[in-house]
Amino acid sequence: MATFKVTKGTPVAFRDSAYPATYPSPHEGELFYNSSSGAFSFLGVGAGTWASGGALNTAATGTKGFGATIGTSQVNGGAPNLTKTEAYNGTAWTELNNLNSGRYAHAAFGIATAGIVTGGQTDGGTTYHVNTESWNGTSWTEVNNLNEGRFKLAGMGLQGAGLATGGYEGTAYVASNESWNGTSWTEVGDLNDGRTALQGSGIATAALVAGGESPGIVAKTETWNGTAWTEVNDLNDSRYTAGMSGNALNTDTLLFGGFAPGATANTEAFDGTSWTEVANMANARYTATGSGVGNGALASGSDNNGNPAQASEEWNFAHPVKTIDVS
């Protein structure tokens, strides 16, 4: 008959409340007994996930936006010819002063108090905007035009130094890349592969573009060093009109959603070398607006058909909490 004389339990810490699950927690991987709830709890390994964000005031698609953090993001424009601007505080959206020119599928870059929009189109029209506007935190002012009108282009950078790259100009997929110096646009080194509906992140001297259509759906990724574009490792899943954490560095960025074909919720993270698939959004969507950085991003607007929608999702890191109820 077996005996268990040497068997004994493992001490487990008692607490009268749960550990804060805010990432990163020093208690990751710990099991404890919560005497208040009468349950064992385990604080798991932190990981990135998407959770619900606030609903836009106006359902939108084809908007663009920027923001260094989730709670300082804005979206602007939208199909068919919206001039709307909305700002997010981490919980709710507030309407701000409108763009001077309605547009969608444009480029936008900057931060909450200083941004640029350029390019885009008016739905059903045949004119591809060259028009550029500058945001000072309160209102939009028209500034110098792009050299080449286009829509579905990528925009990266800050108000004083940025890029407008790729897109479609009515007859061809664009490889052209223009540099903004705070005053005017100058043509600089072209993309290796002209394409439209691509996404970009980074700054004027270190940027990244990925995905798009040229004319098939592509997974191509290129990095910009301030002088030239270099092809690097592809996305795992080809797609166009995705969202991207546009204010992220090109060594830590996130690309999400898009059309692959069919709307996708798939999310990939780029570490400066390669893309890794991470947790999906709750809702597949394409032509949604992306903003934020690699560890705190926002996807807003558009549904799985690319139609206007109000819903947004927030990407953050958190720890899973598993509980074992012993009552």
Binding site: A21, G44, A47, T49, W50, A51, S52, G53, G54, A55, T91, A92, D123, G124, K152, Y168, T196, E213, P215, T241, F259, P261, G262, A265, A279, N280, A282, N283, A284, Y286, T287, D303, N304, N305, G306, N307, Q310, A311, S312, E314, N316, A318, H319, P320, V321, K322
Partner: protein
Amino acid sequence: MDYKYSVKVNWGKTSTDQFIKHEDRMQFHIEGFPGNVWVTEDNIYGERWIARHSAVAKTKSQAQTIVTDIVDAAKDTWDNDDVDGESSAEKITRLGAKPTDITLP
């Protein structure tokens, strides 16, 4: 993986609550579809989410019908949105690709 199907309007986020929390995403699979259809993993955490939101339970067949009706309407809208002289490729560039069928897991 087994799933449950329900319908609930996504109300987003307030200062004290979220329709879907990061914690939810780490405890069970949840995926949204047209028509406010939600597919949740059939476990205790998924059940709690459905109860917390008073989501209306549907069979898989009922949920699929809701999704299919919306996708079909979107296809019709796409088909009927033509511009004189526009090629098929130009239409796709303008509108994006035609909506595709969605099959619930």
